[in-house]
């Protein structure tokens, strides 16, 4: 089922890209003006494209969900060097990521219909959108480290063009920056993989790790360096300091659906990579108490604070959200570095909450930009009068990101703090919750003013903005869909917690 879903997305992606190319070759003969008029004419072809894209998305989503709720059998595609199989097997961690990916990707897909019509280059966008989806599904289901790495690079390469959209030279440069940071991270990780490979019994993911204990004792020094290289390398994707700089460049400039997908899912692949490396290859016991754990915790805390602070100082709305992603994803990494069950549960909850919430926030940004054409956070004064539907969605999502009960963000952060205090790491155990608290205050400081001034403009109210009251359309519906999902997680976290505890029992 998993492979089927991937194949569907892959074929659709290739088909759309070919179509996009053919269009361009044909268009070479048209003049610029003709091209523009053709792009703006709302003709029937648009509808057909949307039906095709929507259909493929639903098919891919349904098959992937069927795989997620089915049993995890191993499927081997082919073999690479040393007879290492490229194979898939869904385990519980994979299931969480898979469901999350499918939900967000479907939501973003339907959201983007309207947005991308304004942006243009739709076929190319959906082509790479599906290719990236196929890669993500493969990442979630990967059964060993080499398969994972295989699709990790594939995913980087496919998601890079999403950033460009209809942008000019600046967007291309941002995309390249994203690409090169990601590749730098990937190669840093590969360096670690090469070294690790010699000391592992196999490369298949197994709860508790696959290190050969005798060899691991012998080569402890170099192995720790290797693991650290992998953490920093994969951390680049998750926006962890010091390789975080691509994120605030690439996210704001991408079209809103792409930013939502990047921030919600692609960034999380870095997290998944870290989980796989630490809990399924190396094993937490190998790292507990070593310098790697401490440096990792410190890097994560630096990122949490740095991201929040920069977001607080930032005026551009989408760039602010991007810095916020930098900060919030490192909450997850912080939780993963603690090696306690509560922290792990907190990390997973934070992961789910942040994915949904940040998706909603970027969707809001897209709607605002599309309706008003303004991009600075201060511009949205009084916007709630005409666009209340969107702004309410934004506000609820914001509360969750700040961590106000009873939202999902609150539960995640609660567990994170509890885990930190239980971990017994001396100063770091106390420093962690303190940083999280400061960051929460900053988060409130950079998210809520938009709501407050949007609803309560005071005397500053200008006569700008959309003339008509907004109606519920596909964009607002998807926005509310993800917002409500994030609320539901906050209100009924029991099932998820039980599921996560099952995982952490096995790996810790």
């Amino acid at each position: 089922m998993l492979v089927l879903s991937m194949t569907v997305a892959l074929l659709a992606g290739i088909l759309l890209l070919t179509a996009s190319f053919a269009e361009h070759l044909g268009q070479g003969k048209l003049s610029e003006a003709e091209k523009r008029s053709e792009a703006e004419a709302p003709d029937g072809r648009d509808g057909k494209l949307h039906i095709f894209v929507g259909g493929v998305m639903l098919l891919a989503a349904v098959t992937a969900l069927a795989a997620a709720f089915g049993e995890g059998r191993e499927t081997v595609l082919f073999f690479l060097m040393d007879r290492i199989p490229i194979s898939f097997r869904l385990d519980d961690v994979g299931r969480i990521f898979l469901v999350l990916t499918v939900v967000i990707w479907t939501a973003v897909c339907f959201y983007s219909f309207k947005y991308m019509r304004h942006e243009g280059e739709e076929k190319r966008f959906y082509g790479f959108f599906f290719l990236a989806y196929a890669a993500l599904i493969a990442l979630d289901g990967a059964a060993n480290l080499i398969t994972f790495y295989f699709f990790f690079e594939f995913m980087t390469l496919c998601s890079m063009p999403l950033v460009i959209g209809r942008g000019g030279r600046e967007a291309v440069m941002a995309a390249l920056k994203y690409l090169f940071y990601s590749l730098a991270g990937a190669y840093l990780a590969l360096f670690g993989i090469f070294i690790l490979y010699q000391s592992c019994d196999s490369v298949a993911f197994r709860a508790g790790g696959v290190l050969n204990q005798a060899l691991a004792q012998q080569n402890q020094g170099i192995l720790l360096v290797a693991v650290f290289a992998m953490l920093v390398g994969f951390g680049a994707k998750a926006g962890m300091f010091p390789l975080h700089a691509w994120l605030p460049t690439a996210h704001p400039i991408a079209p809103a659906p792409a930013s939502a997908a990047l921030s919600a899912i692609i960034v999380k692949c870095g997290v998944l990579a870290v989980i796989r490396t630490v809990y399924f290859i190396v094993g937490p016991n190998f790292l507990r108490g070593t310098w790697v754990q401490k440096v990792w915790l410190i890097l994560a805390l630096i990122t949490v604070f740095l991201g929040s602070m920069l977001a607080f100082l930032e005026k551009g709305f989408k760039k602010r959200l991007a810095y916020s992603t930098v900060s919030q994803v490192s909450y997850i990494l912080f939780g993963l570095a603690l090696f306690t069950p509560q922290a792990f549960a907190g990390a997973i909850l934070q992961l789910l909450a942040h994915a949904l919430v940040k998706c909603a926030l970027f969707m809001t940004a897209g709607i605002f930009i599309l309706r008003t054409g303004k991009t600075q956070a201060e511009d949205y004064i009084g916007i709630g009068k005409k666009m209340g539907l969107t702004l309410w969605g934004y506000t609820i999502a914001s509360l969750s990101l700040i961590g106000i009960p009873p939202t999902a963000g609150f539960i995640g952060k609660w567990y994170l703090c509890q885990g930190a205090l239980d971990a017994g790491l001396g100063v770091l155990s106390y420093l962690g919750p303190a940083v999280l608290l400061v960051s929460a205050v900053l988060t409130a400081g950079y998210l809520l003013p938009v709501s407050i001034r949007g609803f309560l403009p005071g005397r500053e109210e200008g006569d700008w903005g959309p003339k008509e009251r907004e109606k519920a359309d596909l964009m607002t519906v998807t926005l509310w869909f993800v917002t409500i999902l994030s609320l539901l997680i906050g209100l009924f976290p029991g099932h998820i917690l039980a599921f996560v505890n099952g995982i952490s029992d096995a790996i810790l």
Binding site: L25, M81, E153, P161
Partner: protein
């Protein structure tokens, strides 16, 4: 007497190539058919020889005593032979279309075909003397190709190439003399030929000689500090830069180093000595140096040439590991890099052929006009970076594996160099692709004029190379099983 076919394989392109300039051609078509015929026949013969490898050697003539020109095809030689036999017909096909925009075709094809014979001579040489003989000849037959355009720049490049190569060969010559004195024989023997009794306390001296000899052969393999000639030689017509300066000539240098290291001096003498460390360090430095220069270079073909410098040192890095795994990595990369780099050079050539654009910043937006060429350029770029699923990852895997198995600071530095190089490769290759496909919305496509993909003679080789890259990338055992056997026979 199957051995005689070894000589025929070497002589056929030499004589057939000379024929191109002698026969008075009435039609261009006839010359093309003849040229391709000679090359294909030679390749067929080469593959037949590889499949039914004659056990013995064939001595063409003997100067005196040990000094003779003799041929024998062993396992390691077969790898190089198969590589050139696969690439030469495709490159020749590509040249037919490309050379329509250059002059003096007859001279070009004469030397192009003759070089094939000389390269086969290197790969099938039985002993160091024969290898050396053909190595010198290789320089002589390729100099006219470098100077082909006869511009001032080309002549200067040809001269630089000549001085470098002859100088390198002189170093190699010193090594050869010592081997003739201290070796049991100059024939290539797995494990080396040095005579322990005759060597006595001269082990230290032998190490020095080895380093000199290795550096001499490394001139053609463009190891730092002998790499400057290669980018300069980029002025040659693209088929020359692609086939000779990315595969035949430069890999002949690497191949000679494999011979010297594993079959003449022997790893038993060299492993763990200062000689090994110095050379490994040099190759590691070259890996990074070549990439950095490539990044700085804005001329497309020179950029690819610098990338070749870096990649050749991957091979030499594997060679200096002096372990079965290292040799495995070296041979894998020899094959993989040949396919990848010839593909990217041919794409660059197609762009030059169609648009006369040679600088990187002139390529913006061309991807929309020449989709096939730039798609294949991207594929080869990704393969060079080592994206899994393409050839580059396979060879990098074995090189890194060899380095980790070796252990020690230098090996880890080597892996780090491989990774840095991969990143820089991404920057200088994918940067081009991305900007060719996505020049930004404000780009005016009118400025490109009417350009399109070239004809089938240029595209067919490119598609074949791409197919090979994907095939080996996804089914590496097709390559690695073969090379594994080869490596086994060398130890």
């Amino acid at each position: 007497m199957r051995e005689v076919f070894l000589v025929i394989a070497v002589l056929l392109p030499l004589i057939g190539g000379a024929g191109i300039s002698v026969i008075p051609w009435k039609k261009r078509g006839a010359m093309m058919v003849y040229t391709e015929g000679v090359v294909l026949l030679t390749s067929a013969l080469a593959f037949l020889l590889i499949l039914n490898r004659p056990a013995g050697a064939f001595t063409l003539f003997r100067f005196t005593g040990q000094l003779s020109i003799s041929f024998r095809l062993d396992a390691v030689g077969s790898v190089f032979t198969a590589l050139v036999a696969f690439l030469w017909p495709l490159a020749t096909l590509y040249s037919f279309e490309y050379m329509t925009h250059e002059k003096h075709e007859k001279v070009f094809f004469m030397f192009y075909v003759m070089t094939y014979g000389v390269t086969l001579g290197i790969s099938m040489a039985e002993d160091l003397v024969t290898l050396y003989f053909f190595y010198e000849m290789l320089t002589l037959v390729t100099v006219p190709l470098v100077m082909h355009t006869l511009t001032k720049e080309a002549i200067r490049a040809g001269r630089t190439y000549l001085w470098y190569s002859l100088g390198g060969a002189a170093f190699a010559f010193i090594g050869m003399i010592f081997i003739l004195v201290y070796g049991n024989t100059a024939d290539f023997t797995p494990g080396g030929v040095l005579d322990a009794a005759a060597l006595g306390d001269k082990r230290g001296l032998m190490l020095l000689i080895y380093v000199i000899c290795f550096c001499g052969f490394s001139v053609k393999a463009a190891m730092f500090p002998f790499s400057a000639w290669l980018p300069k030689a980029g002025v040659a017509p693209t088929p020359v830069t692609a086939l000779l300066h990315a595969v035949a000539v430069v890999k002949a240098g690497a191949f000679a180093n494999i011979r010297v290291t594993y079959f003449i001096f022997g790893t038993a003498l060299l492993r763990g000595t200062w000689a090994q460390k110095v050379l490994t360090a040099l190759t590691i430095f070259t890996i990074v140096y070549g990439c950095s220069r490539a990044l700085k270079e804005t001329h497309l073909k020179r950029r690819l040439a610098w990338s070749t410098v870096s990649n050749l040192s991957y091979i030499l890095f594997g060679v200096t590991m002096m372990s079965p795994l290292g040799l495995m990595g070296a041979l894998c990369h020899m094959v993989c890099h040949a396919v990848m780099k010839i593909c990217s050079f041919f794409c660059a050539g197609a762009v030059i052929y169609r648009t006369e654009r040679t600088y990187v910043h002139q390529l913006d937006g061309l991807g929309r006009k020449m989709p096939a060429v730039f798609l294949l350029f991207t594929v080869s770029g990704m393969a060079l970076m080592g994206v899994p699923g393409l050839t580059g990852f396979v060879s990098k895997w074995y090189l890194a594996k060899a380095a980790v198995a070796e252990g020690g600071l230098l090996s880890y530095l080597g892996i780090a160099a491989l990774m840095i190089s991969a990143l820089l490769t991404a920057v200088y290759m994918l940067g081009i692709s991305v900007r060719a496909f996505f020049p930004g919305q404000d780009f005016r496509y009118d400025s490109l004029g009417e350009v399109s993909d070239p004809g089938w003679k240029m595209l067919l080789p490119l598609w074949i190379f791409a197919a090979v890259m994907v095939l080996i990338g996804l089914r590496p055992e097709l390559l690695t099983d073969l090379i594994g056997d080869v490596v086994y026979s060398a130890f």
